[in-house]
């Protein structure tokens, strides 16, 4: 756990981080978000899809830290800075929203598994078509896909984003994704029609799957449960592999409370067992979930 310039795969750290930026925005849908940037006391290895448990430092209530996906991360002169986008909902995120640059945050991370990128290995067999990655995000699920998009591009994988939200202001991280992927590779959908298509993001996703039937595709998705269920159905119907990044209420984030149970298919009488979103996930294959 020593601080090195090039962090390797390592154990999570439990540390106090310092706020560099904490900007609050309100969407026309009245939902509120915080764009949080933290400086960590030491560099850590962060894989796409991983998360941290966060809590305002020194506060008594709420007791539990809140799970937040790493949005972006950057190493500046050996100093690790990480970003999150959080939706302001209950007591935990409300207390985060009160913090200012220089204030401190209790940080536990990096936690959880990462996306399976094994399919990109087809590059060793030039005759095999490189697949295209379809990133599907709803609301504040998009942060969990940004590091993935970066990694896919680094590997030369064509990457497309379908981003949905209630209103334009709920398309979290749209500017950053646009800079990374170019506008042509992003399709947006909003319920109120304020940006992109009107309706759910699964509509343009289905249209795309219809016109690209038989092509090698991989879906990566994160968002509200209802959206993930719809994405899972589409993936099954169009026989496209899909990896879903799940959310569940969790007390610890590192596997000891067993609160964040998700039913996963198993070879037993009931047909499923409960796995933990925090350590077995948060990323699961669509077909392994017993939904």
């Amino acid at each position: 756990m020593s601080a090195t310039a090039t962090p390797k795969q390592s154990q999570p750290i439990d540390a106090v981080a310092v706020i560099v930026r904490n900007e609050l925005v309100t969407s026309a849908s009245t939902r509120r978000y915080g764009y949080l940037r933290l400086r960590l006391p030491q560099p850590i290895a962060i894989q796409p899809g991983q998360f941290a448990m966060l809590k305002a430092h020194g506060i008594y209530e709420p007791l539990l830290r809140r799970a937040m996906a790493f949005y972006r991360c950057e190493l500046i002169n050996g100093q690790q800075e990480v970003e999150f986008i959080y939706q302001i909902l209950g007591r935990g995120t409300q207390s985060l929203a009160k913090l200012e640059p220089g204030d401190k945050v209790e940080f536990l991370g990096a936690l959880g598994n990462t996306y399976d990128l094994a399919f990109t290995r087809t590059t060793t067999m030039p005759e095999v078509l490189l697949p295209e990655a379809l990133l599907v995000a709803g609301g504040v699920g998009s942060p969990a896909l940004y590091l993935l998009a970066e990694e896919l591009l680094r590997r030369g994988i064509a990457t497309r984003l379908f981003l949905g939200g209630a209103s334009q202001g709920d398309l979290c991280g749209l500017e950053d994704f646009t800079a990374l992927l170019t506008p042509e590779r992003i399709t947006c959908a909003t319920i109120d029609g304020s940006h992109g298509e009107t309706g759910f993001v699964t509509a343009p996703l289905e249209a795309y799957l219809q016109t690209h039937a038989g092509q090698p595709l991989m879906i990566y998705s994160c968002g509200p449960d209802a959206m993930l269920h719809a994405v899972a159905k589409l993936a099954a119907r169009y026989q496209v592999a899909a990896q879903l990044s799940l959310e569940a209420p969790m007390a610890c984030g590192f596997g000891i409370c067993v609160g964040c149970a998700v039913p996963v298919k198993a070879d037993c009488a009931e047909g499923f067992v409960y796995k933990k979103v925090c350590t077995d996930g948060p990323v699961f294959w669509q077909e392994e979930l017993h939904w």
């Binding site: 007390a251 409370c257 149970a261």
Partner: protein
């Protein structure tokens, strides 16, 4: 260890090791701070975040004779000063604990205390027998808060006779000391404590969670899929201190205090009420280093108060 005591007396005998070493039911513990069942997995799950060698003991997640799948989600909800859980005792089973977890856990210089439960006395015995095969186990902790399905579903912990019956049966089957874990959801905890002591328990740990409930006012549905759950965390600490205090006046066997312990001050309160050791539970979730900080804090307290050993403080509550 080189720190001088405030009055500059030599402190050779007052090393943290000497100050905190305790014995309970014939087992030597490096210190009186353990992690509580269900809040530290099988111990190893915390190895990346804390030094397990610094814990006095580790009470494992509740183990049954057969693996248990646990309850449907949602299983947890945070309340004020605590949380409700209805995990449903999900565990890998006593056999898998012995073969998959114990060999690695034994490498640490701590005491290993499997927490055991069942829904009939026979199931408790079955689990104990599987654990008897495991080397390096120091004691058992019996979670008697489960419903006894052969006696109308009433919890073993609620009835002095049932509590005594399961204790007696397990004592016969176990070659290791048996700590019986008490439930706060009873009218007269002293009566249960006496019955369990008479049945041969080597020590009591208390308390398990307090039954609670939380409702979402928008959907009017219980927030937990299981409807009710166990309340833990700082919110239950005064109840737990009271239970330890009452049990201390009822029995002579050692007590292990549990319930909302997150700081050194919390632990001291339990010790003064009558606990020889303490367990840290929910605090592990939001501050994994809480138990280690309490170990340091207790040693510091001994030094400041010139106590040779923390045991001098046990049950020293001053009553007018």
């Amino acid at each position: 260890m080189t720190d001088a005591a405030p009055n500059n007396q030599p402190i050779a005998a007052h090393s943290p090791a000497a100050q905190l070493a305790i014995e309970i039911a014939g087992v030597q513990f490096n210190n009186p701070v353990w992690t509580a069942s269900g809040t530290c997995g099988y111990g190893l799950d915390m190895a990346g975040l804390i030094d397990l060698n610094r814990l006095g003991g580790i009470c494992t997640k509740g183990l049954s004779a057969k693996p248990m799948r646990g309850n449907a989600p949602w299983r947890i909800v945070e309340t004020h000063g605590g949380m409700l859980n209805a995990i449903g005792l999900q565990n890998i089973g006593a056999r898998a604990f012995v073969s998959e977890k114990l060999p690695e856990l034994r490498n640490y210089d701590t005491r290993i205390i499997p927490n055991v439960f069942g829904y009939t006395i026979e199931e408790y015995i079955e689990a104990i027998k599987l654990l008897e095969d495991g080397p390096g186990i120091h004691a058992y902790e019996l979670n008697i808060s489960c419903p006894n399905v052969k006696a109308g579903g009433e919890s073993f912990a609620n009835d002095p006779r049932q509590a005594a019956a399961v204790t007696e049966a397990v004592k016969k089957a176990a070659t290791r000391p048996v700590i019986v874990k008490m439930s706060p959801n009873v009218t007269d905890i002293a009566a249960i404590a006496r019955a369990v002591e008479a049945a041969g328990a080597d020590a009591l740990s208390l308390i398990n969670t307090a039954v609670g409930m939380s409702i979402d006012i928008h959907t009017r549905r219980p927030r937990l899929a299981n409807v009710t759950g166990g309340l833990s965390g700082p919110a239950i600490k005064p109840i737990a201190v009271r239970c330890v205090f009452q049990a201390a006046r009822a029995v002579r066997i050692p007590l292990i205090g549990i319930g909302g312990i997150a700081t050194t001050e919390d632990a001291l309160e339990f010790i003064i009420a009558g606990a020889s050791a303490v367990q840290v539970g929910t605090a592990n979730f939001y501050d994994p280093t809480a138990a280690m900080k309490i170990v340091d804090g207790l040693a510091d307290y001994c030094t400041r108060h010139n106590l040779e050993n923390i045991r001098a403080l046990v049950g020293t509550v001053v009553l007018n």
